[in-house]
Symmetry: C2
Subunit: 180 residues, 2 copies
């Protein structure tokens, strides 16, 4: 088992089911369905284009409860797009970490363990789509950014996680990544 | 995505919380907690020696809902132990498959998709312990089999799964393994 110390730079959520743009909070409390009141909260979710082996809309276990991105990868995306910054809010992130390079390559089954005892499991990378690209394009008023985001954020857009152990995740804390 | 056709040779469960020896049924119906009334059923389970990063007994997401073994690997364990057969019942298996070599090496995140639409996710291999060894030793009345099972079943004892999509799993059917 490999262990890495990381920093929790921000925790975020959105209660708005019509927008994936998140907002920063002091802390979030997670249970087995994710972050209560967040738009991705739930034990179940509808199968979509990512799970083509189920009919679209089939209720399946929700393994995409939280989105995690890193300071380092957001900076790398920004550099590649030639813009000053990419905010975790625009990516719909629920957690921003620093101190772990190549977060997006973290293997499925890796864990985040927090000082409260809470724990998340990595469910794999989160392939970039046009949604965040539209937000970035609108902010910088550069019409080509939407499509360029999808290309430049590939393998840098972070991961999705589900909750293994309920508890509180507070910003500006240390945490650990465990890789089996 | 790689696809493999497999055969469901048996489905099994045990309602007895004091014994992990399972018994064969015509079909099982799974929900998000596993097989209702099975001893491993539940959305939550207590952290144990496998999850040392949580205090023992902490309630965590139950990712060890079903145990899957294969005809090929059971035969290989039997051959290595020098016994005529190893029954899936003795391993506490909930499903016996055939047609896929090296089941135990199936990567975490691989899926079983059934004709009913039900789906399981592989949560990784199931390291052998003394429990099934005791059953095998008692059956064959050979005192050294318990410890030998732990050694010879390493990387051949099958996997654990959790339910992604509820539904019915019937024995003597075809199914598919999908590897991302």
């Amino acid at each position: 088992m490999q262990k890495f110390d990381i920093n929790i730079e921000a925790v975020l959520m959105t209660p708005d089911p019509n927008s994936f743009v998140t907002a920063s909070l002091e802390s979030i409390e997670v249970d087995l369905g994710g972050i209560p009141n967040d738009r991705h909260y739930g034990l179940l979710r509808c199968a979509d284009v990512r799970q083509k082996f189920y009919p679209k809309g089939t209720l399946i276990a929700n393994r995409r409860q939280l989105t995690v991105v890193s300071v380092e990868e957001c900076a790398e995306i920004a550099a590649r797009l030639g813009v000053p910054k990419i905010l975790p809010e625009w990516l719909g992130a629920n957690m921003l970490i620093s101190g772990y390079p190549d977060l997006t390559l973290l293997p499925q089954g890796a864990r985040f363990i927090f000082t409260s005892g809470a724990g998340l499991i990595c469910e794999g990378d989160n392939p970039p789509c046009l949604g965040p690209g539209k937000i970035i394009e609108a902010f910088y008023v550069q019409p080509e950014l939407k499509a360029r985001f999808v290309a430049e954020a590939d393998n840098r857009r972070g991961i999705v996680c589900s909750v293994e152990c309920p508890g509180i995740i507070t910003n500006k804390q240390k945490a650990q990544i465990l890789i089996p």
